[in-house]
Symmetry: C2
Subunit: 576 residues, 2 copies
């Protein structure tokens, strides 16, 4: 395939170009980053130490003509969870890396001196430069300056102040086509990048080999089937493009699974004020853009440009989970307040899911009043941005706040914040939170789809029956999709439409001249999960960590269902 691996050694400040080992040829995205991390990183090492590595890999279809093929995977040992982490993002860097013929970028070691660096990647490889100029700056300003200096055609991966402070909720940000911020959000990749003293990485694909397709006709045919399925499905073709992911506020609230007041209730009487329908109307009335793609080739366009009442840009990539976390969970009723917090987290480089749950745990601790959107913004934009003691507590996530203040009502699994779906009212997602190798993460096995939206079948959300199998099947499929470089939202049509699912592996076949079957996809997913699980066990995680916090024993109104899986029932997950 003629692709290469770029290795960047931050201890010696050297870079090299390596051939792709035979065994890694058929891997991409999450399968590749998790394999390299498992091969090269000692599982018990310190996540912010010299033995951890930061690996970037486009997926098997990234930058191809397939719709929504814009994802880049970042892999590392997580300073938040203590386990392996893969976090994927859109934006423009992934496609440019792929077009340079780069299968993976491996960043290892740590500088001996307390200096900052930037990295530039182009057709000739990677160069490291001592670079203190932008240290302390937020992502939005950084992208603006880089755009002015280097032109808009560069891909940029960067950290904000949170990553510089090595906060465990720091993400790795990615410039989108318009200079907005996308994120390798979860698990503290920004802290790992910060520990290696890299402020930003620019990618210029000029003169690169581009993407070659082994069987172009077949690829085109399958890509058409695939795109049509995306556009025809009610979720990827209508719900997400019109309302963004915030369409889920009403879905979850109606289902009684919308965690409210730090997971005390499953419905919020003010949901209407922050729901996707309201957001859509607000954006349209203010002249913003309700439907925006985070990377070239996206046809779902679930992002948006959210503006204030003067029509000025406030934020972009304004997601359901972020809106939920300050809204229902923190009782903040003003969508504009939440939007400003979202911008600040993007700018500082904080995972917005971890960030919003952190704020509600801070409310639990009495650090700020429930529902106070203005103080939420101040905590993020002043305390966290400036790395004050309180800002450091917050910047290290929900678990950090809970531990530091001696709380017990801390919604985390493996120290990662539980997102916007209550596991007592959507029990399949609870199994995903408990068992995924990633710490609480809805995206790794989105049982909400089958529990609530009847996508890919139906499993009653309030019963235990079938949830472990559902989560296992979804986690296996998701691990495979995360390896393709396709946006995960393609899973909605893929779960419902057999030809759409087939089109995914047939596009891979056409791209590389392979003959994968549906079974190979399943085997790939299993391989990824088992590789990650073995890493986590070596890192000291056990089935004692595959559990939800104790407070989920409480019944959740309105259904008054509790989390009632035994440890043995949860542990069935790994029987495959």
């Amino acid at each position: 395939m003629g692709e290469k691996i770029i290795r960047i050694n931050m201890t010696n400040l050297t870079t090299s170009v390596e051939a792709v080992p035979e065994g890694l040829m058929a891997l991409g995205g999450r399968a590749l980053t998790s394999t390299i991390v498992a091969m090269e990183v000692p599982p018990a090492c310190e996540a912010l130490g010299k033995y951890n590595k930061l690996v970037f890999a486009p997926g098997l279809l990234t930058a191809s003509a397939a719709a929504n093929s814009g994802r880049l995977s970042a892999g590392f040992k997580s300073p938040l969870t203590g386990g392996i982490k893969e976090s994927s993002a859109g934006g423009t860097a992934g496609q440019k890396i792929e077009r340079l013929g780069i299968k993976a970028i491996i960043i290892e070691g740590m500088p001996k001196e307390d200096k900052w660096y930037s990295i530039h990647i182009d057709k000739d490889g990677a160069t490291i430069k001592e670079d203190h100029e932008y240290v302390g700056k937020g992502n939005y300003e950084l992208y603006k300056i880089i755009g002015e200096k280097m032109g808009k055609n560069f891909g940029v991966l960067s950290i904000g102040p949170a990553g510089e402070f090595r906060m465990a909720s720091a993400n790795i940000s990615v410039k989108d086509p318009d200079g907005n911020v996308r994120s390798h959000g979860r698990g503290g990749g920004g802290a790992v990048m910060g520990s290696k003293k890299i402020k930003y990485i620019t990618v210029d694909d000029t003169g690169g080999p581009g993407v070659t397709i082994a069987e172009p006709d077949k690829f085109k045919q399958q890509a058409r089937i695939f795109a049509k399925a995306l556009l025809d499905h009610p979720v990827s073709g209508q719900g997400l493009p019109i309302y963004g992911t915030d369409i889920l506020v009403n879905v979850l609230n109606e289902a009684g699974g919308f965690p409210t007041h730090n997971f005390r209730r499953g419905q919020w009487e003010h949901a209407e004020k922050i729901c996707g329908e309201t957001m859509h109307d607000v954006i349209v009335s203010r002249g913003g853009n309700p439907s925006h793609g985070c990377h070239p080739g996206c046809i779902i366009k679930c992002s948006q440009i959210y503006t204030d009442s003067d029509g000025k840009f406030v934020t972009s990539g304004f997601e359901y989970e972020t809106i939920w976390g300050l809204g229902g969970n923190g009782l903040v009723e003003d969508l504009d307040d939440i939007a400003r917090c979202d911008w600040a987290m993007d700018d500082i480089g904080i995972d917005s899911i971890e960030g919003v749950v952190t704020i509600s745990v801070a409310m639990e601790a009495g650090i700020l009043p429930w529902g106070d959107g203005k103080e939420s913004y101040r905590l993020i934009n002043e305390e966290m941005r400036n790395g004050t003691p309180l800002g450091r507590i917050l910047g290290n996530g929900a678990g950090s706040v809970g531990r530091t203040y001696g709380l017990t009502r801390i919604p985390v699994v493996k120290n990662q914040a539980i997102p916007a779906y209550d596991p007592r009212a959507v029990k399949g997602i609870g199994i995903t939170y408990a068992t995924t190798t990633m710490g609480a993460d809805h995206t790794t096995g989105y049982a909400v789809a089958t529990n609530l939206m009847r996508i890919g079948g139906f499993v009653d959300p309030l019963q235990k029956d079938g949830q472990v199998d559902l989560s296992r099947n979804l986690q296996i499929a998701t691990a495979a999709v995360d390896s393709t470089g396709l946006c995960l939202f393609v899973a909605f049509p893929a779960l419902d439409v057999p030809e759409c699912f087939a089109a995914i592996y047939e596009m891979i076949n056409a791209r590389y001249g392979l003959s994968l079957t549906a079974n190979d996809v399943v085997e790939l997913g299993k391989y990824v999960l088992k590789t990650e699980h073995a890493f986590n066990q070596g890192a000291g995680l056990t089935n004692a960590h595959d559990r939800l916090p104790e407070f989920f024993e409480e019944a959740l109104p309105p259904h008054n269902t509790a989390w009632d899986f035994s440890g043995e029932e949860i542990d069935e997950f790994w029987n495959f």
Copy 2:
């Protein structure tokens, strides 16, 4: 034996008196607290949640006529380490509990309302009282008020503000005969007591059954042998009484194992300013008391009354590890500054080992300058006492500071601070730090004795050979001694003098009419370690947690030895 268990349920605010189950009859101290915790506490539960329990148990010889039989064990799941914890203390409470015929006190549950309570224990059992009067007060003031109100003859167990804030370094304090503070220091027992909303426990042994001896003549004879051995041994008979534990400054510094500048060097050029010999002279010149016992019946008297230049009380129980942590490790040269910090930690109720290592990690983070004793005091006495955000970070220990500031040079094992003996220059103690069930704790297997003082034989401190066996043998013996209620310092003569060792189990035999042998002592120690280890495994700790931090790979001057045990070599420890 006619003894009883007092059970205190803080959820229902009820107390009960139970017979001692047959299987617990022969256990005391650590063996008993660890057994009860292992039996009754789900290992994976939240340490500050309702399923954790706080267990107090006197040892098998506590309150007998044996010299130095004043120890009380506290057992619980640790909020600091996440594993089981036993922490013993002197003071007067243990002997009074034993004289009431109480084998153990089990405190369980959590109040449903946000109210504070005190508990009173006397011959009729335990009573719980809502009690907000002393909330926020330090231990010294609390003991003074209780002494004035109730008389001096009460035993008191209490928490300071640190325990109220549920800080993971909060200890459980114990009043000594003169109203000074002793501590169940390590592992955050104060946070567990605080989570159960108990500010203090008073113990009145008036009218209690006292201690009955099955074979009084035999007991007296063995107690004489035992006391003579303590007085004759150079460590327990001379070194500790005259200089206190601070005698170790020169021992460790000369051996190159005195961790300096956060474990960067093994010797400190200013050690003379803080060593035991200097402290002795300072105390004597100021009219303090260099030799003071923490409980009635102590004949070692390693404590002291440290006064200022006006002869006013500054602190008591001023230990080597505390002095080392601010002194060598934090480069603070003024012993008076260190003494004030020691008092403040006792008053606030903070484990002073965790506290001083926390301060040096705070220096590493740039929170205060190296060597700044005045700012150290301010951080402890203002920030920690008042529970400010910075105070909370500090109050949760060295690991908390390190994680919150994204550091890698964090001297902890299982999140508990490594004390005053560098594992690269005293390798046996390194095996103890790595393997003990307690998190880094020198007292669980004090290989320093054999590595440096040639007590109980000699194993070269700079070589790997023999260290695992040494640490294992010492940890087994220590687990047994921790079950007797004897001060651990009796181990110095017991390791050197066979009749002294025999006297310990012969006194137990005479006390209870048993016929234990030396082998039974070893089997008891093994049982304790295995019980604790099984709990820890259930709590999610694995051999990945039986490791020292990565930075100990660095060679330590002056010997330039590194920590060079492989994981496999360390794991040999558990092969018994």
